[in-house]
Subunit: 191 residues, 2 copies
């Protein structure tokens, strides 16, 4: 998606430890017009699949997922990272290891909102080692819903997540795949 | 907002401890069509105010804020609840006490995305004791931005938050104010 790649080149900042900082438009400040364009692009890539639900994970996936869901005209469900008082006991749950936060956490989805008959598109902002996406796919499987595919805004192509997920036969679409980036020159190479 | 009140009466569930469970359409599964209508309603209530930024807090505020922002044609910034590797040190921060989670946490916004010249509408899903909203208002003040007002989807009118915030002179608009609710009969009285 050229609009997105141009935006990453213009506003993305490369930080130590292969961090690509895009929080001016993607995951802290959010450009909802761009998110709408992202929705249209995912619609082109997952046409005629009968998707009736978008699944994402808190927090930074939610905004994108909502604008994508508006284009698809379906509801969003977001997996929660900790069990709160307001969710009843009947949930699907799996564990995810977070690279960014350096810890393992549970993710949960209420059984009421994911299950047989659902045709699910998983949406997230980033794909790196793939742990969050693997967790979301596991929840879809556990629920008996059908996984149509996964739509990622930015994939770090130099990390293993994309390969692992594609090798599982999942229809994975990443709108920008970063092949390499150079902290010193600021150069970003897309696949 | 009648559409919202009808939906709360239809799909809301009253749980022990004055919990109003609306996670079938508001804060776990999300009805983005309803969120768009919520955006239109806030636009009517905050007309001609020159709002150029929506501020919310992760996680359940984000989806609503994004659909509201689309109507206003402005970006969203969401306050984060913990400091992650991906945010540089230059942030506004304040502390919030969470009733739902029973703990105190820091909320932060990067100084890059909130500041002088911004005319800010704060958006959140719930207002109960007002701690989260007070924290967001504090961040706006600290940044030098102008607080235009706060838009809440559901206010628990029997808790103190609404009164505290209105007594500060803040233009607070809640689309549904629950005056009382009865766990046994399922009855909800709106103000």
């Amino acid at each position: 998606m050229q609009l997105l790649k141009d935006r990453i080149r213009k506003d993305g900042k490369i930080k130590e430890g292969n961090v690509l900082k895009v929080d001016s438009f993607l995951n802290h400040q959010m450009d909802v017009k761009l998110f709408h364009e992202i929705g249209l692009e995912f619609q082109r890539r997952f046409e005629n699949e009968g998707i009736n639900k978008i699944l994402t994970i808190e927090a930074s996936g939610i905004g994108i997922a909502c604008l994508v869901a508006e284009v698809f005209d379906v509801p969003v469900v977001f997996a929660k990272k900790t069990q709160t008082k307001n969710i009843a006991g009947d949930v699907y749950t799996t564990q995810v290891e977070s690279y960014t936060h350096g810890r393992i956490y549970d993710i949960i989805v209420s059984k009421e909102y994911l299950g047989e008959g659902d045709k699910v598109l998983v949406i997230d902002d980033f794909l790196a080692n793939g742990k969050a996406l693997e967790g979301l796919i596991q929840l879809v499987k556990d629920s008996g819903a059908e996984l149509v595919g996964a739509g990622i805004v930015i994939e770090k192509g130099f990390q293993v997540g994309g390969e692992i997920i594609r090798n599982q036969g999942v229809h994975l679409e990443s709108l920008a795949i970063v092949e390499s980036m150079d902290e010193k020159t600021g150069e970003i190479v897309f696949r």
